[in-house]
Symmetry: C2
Subunit: 347 residues, 2 copies
């Protein structure tokens, strides 16, 4: 089973993923494959008719037929090499100065669409709707498991940027601990709310509206802008305009509006950057069923946290400077990035 190990100096968890265990030679093979593009996929396991080549289906959007049939719109299966295992007991242990938690969690793959060669620039509103509908269903379902402290849907797009399979897919991960990045966000939000009785994210949206130089696109329910302190060139944040702590509570009408927003952003990114590799993450509140010992903390999240989506095209690297400082060097001013994306025009 995988293990989460805590670094007492960096105050940071690492996942030692034994299911993915690899020997030195495996990395050489991967470097070679990476340099020579995608592995030949004769039978793509994510295409219609190859359902037997994935682990057993967890969820699917389909209007008829039974589990593991073809004719689905989206399909969710366990990751074949999961970083976290769904079975087993959550155990916390210590050894001297070090802490460990068993790698209990979920690691699921969402197949976005049956169309093998679809690129983000050809995603239509219905494809995006189906994907985010599926994200919502998985977050809702996984929230019922009280072992999980955080659930994160995300997408790695572009060969070599977190994926080696070309067939469009995303992921959902459920974790037994609250990750550092979320902890910091929750803490900032809580501190701001305590002092001002206002949501820090709502305050940011208001300032972005007034300033107007970083906004890329907005519709009735959502706003997209290049964040003031963007770590990456053409980085984007997307927020619901109405305060809401959790992505899980989004309605069908909200999903329709979100589908418009995301499709718009994918198309604009393609126009400006020609089908760039990217990562997309949904930052939602931790499931509220987790409340041991800290009832106030979890109760107040509804007021002080505001869910959002972050998208980062992968144009710059992650090397010694970023690793050593935690900073990123971004060679494009967010105001300029926003201007390019505004002028790129709609779908």
């Amino acid at each position: 089973m995988s293990e989460l190990r805590f670094d007492p100096v960096k105050q940071k968890w690492s996942v030692i993923a034994t299911e993915r265990s690899r020997r030195p030679h495996d990395f050489l093979v991967e470097r070679h494959e990476h340099a020579h593009g995608e592995k030949a996929q004769i039978n793509c396991p994510f295409c219609y008719g190859n359902e037997v080549h994935t682990p057993h289906e967890i969820y699917a959007m389909r209007s008829f037929g039974k589990k593991n049939d073809a004719n689905w719109l989206t399909r969710v299966v366990p990751n074949k090499y999961p970083a976290f295992g769904i079975e087993g007991e959550l155990k916390r242990s210590g050894s001297g100065i070090y802490d460990t938690v068993t790698g209990i969690g979920a690691h699921e793959v969402i197949i976005d669409t049956p169309v093998h060669s679809m690129r983000l620039k050809t995603y239509d509103r219905m494809t995006v709707y189906n994907l985010f509908y599926t994200f919502r269903e998985r977050v809702r379902d996984l929230s019922n498991d009280t072992r999980f402290r955080y659930i994160m849907p995300f997408k790695n797009y572009g060969l070599g940027f977190g994926t080696n399979i070309i067939h469009p897919h995303s992921q959902v991960i459920a974790l037994p601990v609250v990750p550092n990045i979320l902890k910091t966000k929750l803490k900032s939000a809580k501190e701001h709310y305590r002092r001002k009785e206002r949501c820090i994210f709502c305050d940011i949206l208001e300032q972005e509206h007034k300033d107007n130089s970083r906004i890329v696109y907005e519709n009735q329910d959502f706003i997209a802008f290049c964040p003031y302190a963007s770590s990456f060139p053409f980085e984007l944040s997307i927020y619901p305009k109405q305060h809401a702590h959790s992505f899980a509570v989004i309605t069908e009408s909200g999903l329709t509006s979100l589908a418009d927003m995301i499709t718009e952003i994918f198309h604009r990114l393609d126009r400006v950057l020609e089908d760039p590799p990217l990562n997309m993450v949904i930052h939602t509140s931790p499931p509220l069923n987790y409340r041991p010992g800290k009832p106030d903390f979890w109760h107040s999240i509804k007021f002080d946290y505001h869910w959002h989506i972050e998208i980062a095209p992968r144009l710059t690297g992650y090397a010694g400077f970023e690793w050593g400082t935690g900073f990123h060097i971004n060679p494009v001013r967010p105001e300029e990035a926003a201007e390019y994306l505004r002028q790129a025009g709609g779908i």
Copy 2:
């Protein structure tokens, strides 16, 4: 001038580097170049005789001759596209919810050796000694500038992993703020010292010694091990065995011992992973001349902080999961990695 911008939610600085300013098209060119290897270097600016093609020399190890002559052993020049500028006033300003600091700092390139095609696996002790001697001289010199809150020497190795130039080189960066990662480390160290009157790093070294499963190599003055919560496969930490807060205080005899250690590690990494791309960072204490308002904090660093070197081969990616959580997924147990590196044998 570049700007540091602070994200009030993530509590994290980003560097908006205008000297490196790029337009969307530039990224396409880079993606193309990345896919097709190194740019043709007819006149490598880092080779003997091409000294005029770099900005004016800051420092060099040479036994005779004058500035910008050839016949150097190592040579330090300003980065041609610096993320930080040495000239100008350090200004802190705010705009609503956002904070900004002018991008004052230093961004230097160290040419490790005159030998254009030297790889880490062919670094001998003298080459490593010269490099670290140069690191020390630059840290000492930059520490005199009271505008700088942190100085970090580091190395990106491998085309596409933070560098596009094959001629062996490293970097030193001086920052006007203390980076998040160091802040967390300082805080953990201080908290541990306050409770136990012991250095947390010395405690870790003691536990690693007792456990013995993650130690790779040690000599009289240094110890190298794969850290318990390694974020990356075959990650290594190197510590001086005697407590010392700052790399700047290392003696010539210490440098000789360090050169043995680093050469040993480079060779073993090559034996196990065949010349892997890697990042190396020296984590030293902030310069102690900075003490405004917090005399105790800066005074106690001598006792609670312990300088060290981190090396991470770049075998796994940085994608949505890492970006969204701050965790890394490491598919190799540090105990196994240490075993491979131990068995790889010495130089």
